[in-house]
């Protein structure tokens, strides 16, 4: 049995909690981690508040293999993530010379001055290891099993793609997806029976209401491809017996 490698995400930002900004980073990280065999098991959205960030990070880093934070590492007064992470680890937040060197190179063209606000993006918890930012210069960082990324999706994605080879995953979860034109209440007993008959396979049931009618999307997930195939066939057959027209959708991970 492969060990399950787990991760949590901490989304930092008042703009998410006010409903002004729709987060998309969670879904991106979830899919990216799954491909590496790292299972996202919890996420938290916290305000731009030192204590709230530190509390969430400390609660999660103790019980997950990896923690990823997004948001709050820019040059403005509301960018307090570095300070909060330093607090979480009980270390001082200091100007990191390697980060300063990166900023000096990035701003070398002189179009924008490397002023104190921009330099503050080099303030990091003592002991931080840099995470490359190919988009806008200012690096993210790592403290033990905690990775600190930007909140702007384009930058967050570039940071993740650039460091993900460092993560040690387990077996990736494979999934198959079947849509059926029957209501959930009609197929519920069948689903439970098929799941019980296929240990190691988890079946999720997601009703949908579309313009052309309602139905249910069934997602089968397992780390074992053979079991997944057997369970999918059994499910499709059982749904036909119930009078449905099950259709398998594109195979994907996640």
């Amino acid at each position: 049995m492969t060990r399950i490698v787990t991760a949590s995400v901490v989304i930092i930002g008042n703009e998410i909690l006010s409903g002004r900004t729709q987060d998309g980073n969670l879904a991106y990280l979830a899919r990216g981690l799954n491909e590496l065999g790292v299972r996202l098991v919890e996420a938290r959205v916290v305000a731009d508040d030192d204590a709230a960030i530190a509390e969430a990070v400390n609660a999660l880093r103790a019980r997950r293999d990896y923690v990823f934070t997004t948001g709050g590492i820019g040059p403005t007064h509301d960018d307090i993530t570095a300070r909060a992470i330093a607090k979480a680890f009980g270390v001082p937040c200091r100007r990191n010379p390697d980060a300063v060197a990166i900023l000096e190179r990035f701003y070398a063209d002189g179009e924008h001055p490397l002023n104190e606000a921009r330099l503050s993006m080099a303030d990091m918890p003592e002991g931080a290891e840099l995470v490359d930012n190919p988009v806008s210069g200012a690096p993210g960082f790592r403290m033990e099993n905690v990775f600190v990324f930007a909140g702007v999706p384009r930058i967050m994605q570039a940071m993740f793609e650039g460091m993900k080879h460092r993560l040690v995953g387990g077996a990736p979860v494979r999934s198959r997806s079947v849509a059926v034109d029957l209501p959930e209440g009609t197929i519920a007993e069948t689903l439970a029976r098929v799941e019980a008959a296929h240990p190691g396979v988890e079946i999720g049931s997601y009703p949908y209401y579309r313009s052309r009618g309602f139905g249910v999307k069934l997602v089968l997930r397992s780390v074992e491809e053979d079991r997944l195939a057997t369970a999918t066939e059994a499910l499709i057959e059982a749904l036909r017996v119930l009078g449905g027209k099950p259709v398998e959708e594109t195979v994907e991970t996640g």
Copy 2:
């Protein structure tokens, strides 16, 4: 000084944590709550797991005025929210006669039978108060300060709209939004200075990269409309001094 009324949201579902489904309920609830003067201060996304749901709900209900959960109240085996909430409150999960009566009326046309799977949607923690579901019959419920909603956005929204008059809010947070064509690092010191000069007003800074260029969206938030107006004017003036072309965007709450 008006008391600040706070809320948390617990989003329940493996499909969110796998990245398969993009959550939209958080932003909807955040905006709806804000209009009522209830501030969303934290959210958690947890797996379809009794213990994880109960832990999150217990951690949050003790320290927030309201907690809202979304997801996991349908008729299938992966719908375990009611059981988990009963566990969180230390009460039995029993078939609720009022909920059964609602289901009986909803399925009275005989198109779909009220089978055991559908009846299981009436299983609720002892003491639960029903939350109306005008879309698909099966009610949500309330236990003390915890409101349990469906995960399907259309149903969740109908449940929230139908019960929100029961919530007692504080002063709603008003916001104004200014876009400027200057990089964050250039305006950072100015932002901090304007915020410091206007107590009770919070300024958030959100850089954007669009096809027609980059810039920063600044969001000023306050419960006091007068202070908000004064701070917005001061900010616009200060951004002009820096050589920017600030543009105020549509006034909105949130």
